[in-house]
Symmetry: C2
Subunit: 204 residues, 2 copies
């Protein structure tokens, strides 16, 4: 059945298969055979296109991080005010796909891998910076730079922390609750800073 132009199709299939297998397995100690099988090709073909297991793994991270980035860009573009853009970033982070147990398990595995693979680490650093920077840019429109930096750091940490806690699957927090917790954090830290010193809250 060999037809020309299969390369991009196979690459994508393999990269998706890798994510799925890693997510199910909850670890990077998956075999090329498993990945290839999931993608419906032979292990040899996976090697043919990616050269090595490590390279396939790296491409897998890259591909899925790119996807996340695209979602974020789209969501931010749809939002108008800085405050709405902030919410958009948060929403994308907790979007159903991202927050599925298998996806979280896969990301966790990649974080662990980043301790050893310089290239994997690089991609995850880019993600971490991007998250922080997306938050920061919009926060700066709402409060002084120094405060914005603090809050961005804290919000990014909270998002990542909600992920890792989710990975344990004990007392799982719903998507809505996760979003609420993060929004609440931003609101609470922003409240005393908005406008002048006056505190405008709606106490019952």
């Amino acid at each position: 059945m060999p037809k020309v132009g299969m390369e991009p199709v196979r690459r994508k299939a393999l990269v998706d298969a890798a994510m799925r297998v890693i997510g199910d397995h909850g670890s990077l100690t998956v075999t090329m055979s498993e990945i290839a099988k999931q993608a419906g090709v032979s292990p040899a073909l996976a090697h043919h296109y990616f050269g090595s297991k490590e390279q396939l793994l790296i491409e897998t991270v890259r591909h899925h991080l790119q996807r996340l980035r695209d979602s974020t860009v789209t969501a931010m573009r749809a939002a108008k005010t800085p405050r709405e853009k902030l919410s958009a970033v948060i929403h994308v982070s907790f979007h159903a796909d991202q927050f599925a147990p298998e996806t979280i398990a896969a990301w966790l595995a990649f974080y662990a891998e980043a301790q050893r693979s310089e290239e994997t680490r690089r991609f995850l650093v880019i993600y971490a910076r991007r998250l922080r920077s997306n938050l920061l840019a919009n926060l700066k429109a709402l409060c002084p730079r120094e405060d914005a930096e603090r809050i961005a750091e804290g919000a990014a940490a909270m998002i990542d922390g909600l992920y890792i806690r989710q990975s344990l699957r004990s007392a799982p927090i719903s998507i809505e609750a996760s979003i609420a917790l993060t929004e609440d954090y931003i609101n609470s830290l922003l409240a005393p800073l908005s406008g002048e010193a006056a505190v405008q809250r709606t106490d019952k």
Copy 2:
């Protein structure tokens, strides 16, 4: 030089060696040989005492989690007020030992492992619950239960998130900054709740 009563000595040496090797390596794909070498014994002896690699890994998690628990109990006992106890919990979480890159790398590896090993997962769940519960107990003395639950959840997530972000070692956050961020979160969410609805803040 075989002397009687070596068992507990060897077990501890192996469990410590495992933590160190895993931390350096940044992954659980370390060999029994490496661990045994680090502990100064033969691989066969490690098997003799632990039966399997998996069991050694599980004991390693247990042992180090127990250590963390002891630190927390001691620190909380030394603190007097609920608010001070909260700070104590936070401080222990970011204590130098815990926050060292190798330690963080090791914990990350165990979180990944927890996706596959039910027993490892159980221990980490216990840790997660304990952290949340230590926070919650003291928060309940400072605000209504519902709010306390929210804040405990958020603070626990922030602590774990600061860990995972630290693992990437890009733009590392200092111990002090991590503590400040977490304290700041608690203060900010507590502020509008303390006492009656009146907002008592010290705006410049």
